[in-house]
Amino acid sequence: MTIGINLELPLLVIDGVANSAGYESAHYALPSRTTTLTWQTFFGSAPASCTFKLWGSLDVVNFAVIDTSTAVAGELKTVNINLGFIYVELDAVSGGTTFSVLIVPKDI
């Protein structure tokens, strides 16, 4: 399922999910004018290690990693993108309890 999101409105794409390596969010269609994407990770309690991957696509079929986060205290990152679709994956995790991810697209 692909879900549309709005410019300038932060969206909780992963909401307090129990730590599970390989977990993927839904696929999100970005607004047409999106040029930057800011995403933030945070945890119920900090894991010993983790790797989040932000995946992007032009056709919602072929995805590539466009950013990665490994900060166990949570992180807020901004990337320049010109894509139509994204999703977030918790690629690897050790320890911790739950994790969440927020994203916000902007058209600057």
Binding site: L37, L76, V104, I108
Partner: protein
């Protein structure tokens, strides 16, 4: 009536107008302290921390829609560990920039909220300017 009009203008304003071409109303306002949270304007410096000692965590401050660059400057008596934190929900914060001495830095971030955390420092003040610019 002889056709003459008399205007009462303070001498200081007259001198200012002659030397700068600006009236008193045209002079940019000073940096505004706003340490109780709220929101920031675009392109306008706001003093969000005034003379604080560590440990200190400032209030969450909303940034304007479209903000992609944030310039922050620190000044005061001493500082060796201070962080600018961002958040998309106003609750969970993460460092987006740090300083180990007084200075001014610009960070590229599409954050929606900001706050300042002073871990080590005394008499610290912080001014922030939010900008909407192409990355």
């Amino acid at each position: 009536m002889n056709g003459l009009v008399t205007l009462e203008i303070p001498v200081s304003e007259l001198i200012q107008f002659i030397t700068t071409g600006l009236s008193a109303n045209d002079v940019p306002p000073p940096i505004v302290p706003r340490t109780s949270g709220g929101g920031l304007p675009l392109d306008f410096p706001v003093e969000v921390v005034t003379n604080q000692n560590a440990p200190y965590t400032g209030n969450a401050i909303a940034v304007p829609s479209g903000t992609t660059r944030i310039t922050w400057s620190t000044y005061g008596i001493s500082v060796s560990d201070i962080a600018l934190q961002g958040s998309l929900d106003g609750v969970h914060f993460a460092n987006i920039d740090t300083m180990s001495a007084f200075g001014a830095q610009t960070v590229v971030s599409g954050t929606c909220f900001l706050r300042v955390v002073i871990t080590t420092g005394t008499g610290v003040s912080v001014t922030i300017t939010a900008k909407r610019e192409k990355l």
